[in-house]
């Protein structure tokens, strides 16, 4: 239980820090300017560092996991996605994985039934929950671009329009807000529900979920309940985008909670499991074409083998072989 409660307490403390700091200690400059810049620098530098570190690791052999017909003879139809043969096929495979989580779609669940039968069944809930979570998070992040551009770009307008499709409440209710909260709830309870999952889950699994949940909840509160004054927020975000170090205006403390939790997420990102965002592109079982039978892949740090041919051997021992009356190929 400790590994569930500890992250929860940590997120609560992290949320309380900026609230108290801004409300009672007047630290709006720290939470509104210094910490966001620091977090951005840590996120970018850390992300690049981790990616470069991984990119430098040698991948000498092709180790894709395949589940389709490999490319062989002309007349045998092969599976371009499941057993990619060219770079572009492997790239498409990675992109499908990134956007649609194809490998999670094949998730199965093993259950021991009462009559002691082990039963395997399709289990797509994780796929559905993960997809809903990641897609709504992406849409929410893209929607936030309205704070970073003086003139709001067209795609943001389109996203807001599509997201506020139901056109209820004032301000308009965004469906992704509800979807992401539902998905996070599911993802947390998925870990808590099953004894095996409880055993497998660590603090590092719960912490990002709680952190993102807190960010979403604070955002929802600001938008629908408190109805925060947005003008100084936009001013401040535009200043940050323009690398200005001016002090922020009068903004409600809730905004600083939101911003601080996002900063914590950004700082936490490169050091944690969240790096799967970059790592998925580098996973060698996904991004390598399956061409081991067509091309010979030689380990680059193998020691060079020195071959000695028979003719060289004969050149060395010709006279001795003649004396011993052994047959010689070249006189």
């Amino acid at each position: 239980m400790k590994k569930v409660v500890m992250p929860l307490v940590m997120v609560a403390i992290l949320a309380l820090l900026p609230f108290l700091g801004v409300q009672y200690a007047g630290l709006s400059y720290l939470f509104g300017v210094i910490i966001p810049y620091t977090a951005t620098v840590v996120l970018l530098a850390g992300f690049v560092f981790r990616m470069v570190d991984w990119l430098r690791r040698p991948v000498p052999f092709r180790i894709p996991t395949t589940c389709g017909q490999e490319k062989s003879l002309e007349w045998i139809r092969y599976d371009r996605l499941e057993s990619p043969h060219r770079f572009w096929e492997a790239a498409a495979r990675v992109l499908f994985e990134v956007f649609f989580f194809r490998s999670l779609f094949r998730n199965t669940k093993a259950e021991l039934h009462k009559d002691s039968n082990l039963v395997y069944g399709s289990h797509k809930w994780l796929w559905l929950g993960g997809l809903a979570f990641h897609w709504s998070l992406l849409i929410i992040v893209l929607r936030h671009s309205r704070f970073f551009f003086p003139m709001v770009p067209g795609f943001t307008d389109f996203l807001e329009h599509a997201d506020g499709f139901f056109d209820i409440t004032l301000p308009t209710f965004y469906s992704t807000d509800a979807v992401v909260l539902a998905a996070i709830t599911f993802l947390v309870f998925r870990r808590l529900n099953d004894a095996k999952m409880r055993l497998l889950s660590l603090q590092t699994d719960y912490f990002p979920l709680f952190l993102i949940a807190a960010i979403v909840v604070v955002g929802v509160l600001m938008r629908y309940v408190v109805r925060l004054n947005i003008m100084p927020v936009k001013d401040q975000m535009l200043r940050l985008v323009n690398f200005s170090f001016d002090a922020p205006g009068e903004i409600g403390a809730l905004f600083y909670v939101h911003l601080f939790l996002v900063s914590v997420l950004a700082i936490y990102f490169p050091f944690s499991k969240l790096m799967h965002a970059g790592a998925i592109f580098l996973s060698p079982t996904r991004n390598l074409p399956n061409d081991s039978r067509e091309k010979r892949h030689i380990n680059p740090w193998n020691a060079a083998i020195k071959f000695r041919t028979y003719s060289e051997y004969e050149d060395d021992y010709r006279e001795k072989m003649k004396k011993a009356k052994l047959p010689i190929e070249k006189q």
Partner: protein, 126 residues
């Protein structure tokens, strides 16, 4: 394989249908509406609250007005100094009659509440 091709075809058809529908409906939205009668301007010469408060909190005030008028039929706003105002957009826009009064900030922050779905926009009346 036939079914897969059919699936692609159906997907393509559905997407193009949606695209066509989207473009079409957009075009329709831009047709000019009939000019309606002007909002009767409520006579009020002072503001219901100080400027700074209204800048930061007008959305809560207007949302409260909307609720109490529509649900309780309470059309009278009593300010903190005891003066009474009619709960109406016209109370504000009667004095603040610059046609960009709402839009200059709202377009900057890209906040687009759907006030003008029912109410007459100052863009159309002034």
């Amino acid at each position: 394989m036939k079914s897969r091709k059919l699936l692609w075809l159906v997907t393509f058809a559905a997407i193009s249908l949606f695209a066509a529908f989207y473009l079409f409906s957009n075009g329709e939205a831009e047709t000019p509406q009939k000019p309606l009668a002007r909002v009767s301007v409520v006579d009020s010469t002072k503001c219901i609250a100080p400027k700074e408060f209204m800048r930061a909190n007008h959305m809560q005030v207007l949302h409260g007005w909307e609720r109490s008028v529509v649900r309780d039929g309470d059309r009278v706003h009593i300010a903190s100094n005891g003066s009474r105002f009619q709960k109406s957009l016209g109370t504000c826009l009667g004095c603040h009659n610059n046609r960009l009064f709402c839009f200059s900030c709202h377009s900057y922050a890209n906040v687009k509440p759907k006030c003008w779905n029912c109410h007459l926009s100052p863009m159309e009346t002034q």
